[in-house]
């Protein structure tokens, strides 16, 4: 319990320092001004969400291979935390877009593929509520999770493969792209902070899944008496 509290405190501290750095340390962007500061939170959360979905994908593959419940628990845990991250991305993106583009939303490749990603993992979570039998639920949701992950590289590649309304990548974007050194440091600090926050939420959510398993075991024992 103490370790979990310390982990939570570290996550909150890092996220707070990240926000402080984004709002007060990073220099103003030349054309967009202050609204660009949303980028540090928006993009860092998107990276954390995609990492979380990658862990979900690995857990789904491992479940199909080994059929151990812990991988099913990790899969649903990461899907839930990933959905929270992508929800934040889908909210903060339009808040940035409105003053910059003059519109809240457009159906371009990056925005649409991100929205589809959110819908896919919402479907993953809904699918689990529809199947009663635990083994069948775990297999079907693992298979669906593996399928859903196909969209993650599409989201990553959308601004590289196609011309989009969404800005071109500033990290791993090829020649001509890049960030001011201070902006880069602030961005990667925020990436670290959001990953630590996601990891903390994953630990908490995984423990919930373990407790759920304990309840089911005790219920079976009570029924057997």
């Amino acid at each position: 319990m103490v370790k979990r509290l310390i982990f939570g405190a570290i996550a909150i501290l890092l996220v707070s320092l990240g926000a402080y750095a984004a709002l007060y340390v990073a220099p103003d962007e030349r054309t967009m001004g202050v609204i660009q500061r949303i980028f540090y939170f928006h993009a860092a959360t998107a990276w954390a969400g995609e990492t979380t979905f990658f862990v979900c994908f690995l857990a789904n593959l491992l479940y199909i291979w080994k059929r151990q419940p812990k991988y099913d628990w990790l899969g649903v845990t990461c899907a839930e935390v990933g959905v929270a991250c992508i929800t934040v991305v889908l909210i903060t993106g339009p808040i940035w877009a409105h003053p910059v583009w003059g519109i809240w939303w457009t159906w371009d490749a990056r925005l649409t593929s991100t929205f589809v990603l959110w819908l896919l993992y919402i479907s993953y979570l809904l699918l689990r509520t529809l199947i009663e039998e635990a083994d069948r639920r775990a297999v079907l949701s693992a298979l669906f999770g593996i399928f859903a992950f196909i969209d993650v590289p599409i989201v990553f590649g959308a601004i590289r493969w196609w011309r989009t309304q969404h800005p071109a990548p500033v990290i791993m974007g090829g020649p001509g792209s890049g960030l001011d050194p201070t902006m880069r440091r602030v961005f990667f600090f925020n990436v670290l902070a959001m990953h630590v926050l996601a990891a903390f939420l994953i630990v908490e959510r995984y423990l919930l899944e373990e407790t759920k398993h304990d309840v089911q075991t005790l219920q079976r024992e009570a029924e057997a008496r």
Partner: protein, 50 residues
């Protein structure tokens, strides 16, 4: 500072989403722990074996 309100709104809404997820996990955990205790009390033999 133009658009500063939008920047703060984005951060506050974003943090609220994570806070709500944490509260939801904590609430569900607390309910399940109570259920574990209730079930352990109703099956004393088994809980002692554990």
């Amino acid at each position: 500072m133009k658009n500063l309100n939008s920047v703060f709104a984005a951060y506050i809404i974003g943090w609220s989403v994570f806070f709500l997820l944490f509260v939801s996990i904590a609430k569900r955990s607390s309910d399940l722990r109570k259920e574990v205790e209730r079930l352990k009390r109703s099956t004393p033999g088994k809980s002692q074996e554990k």
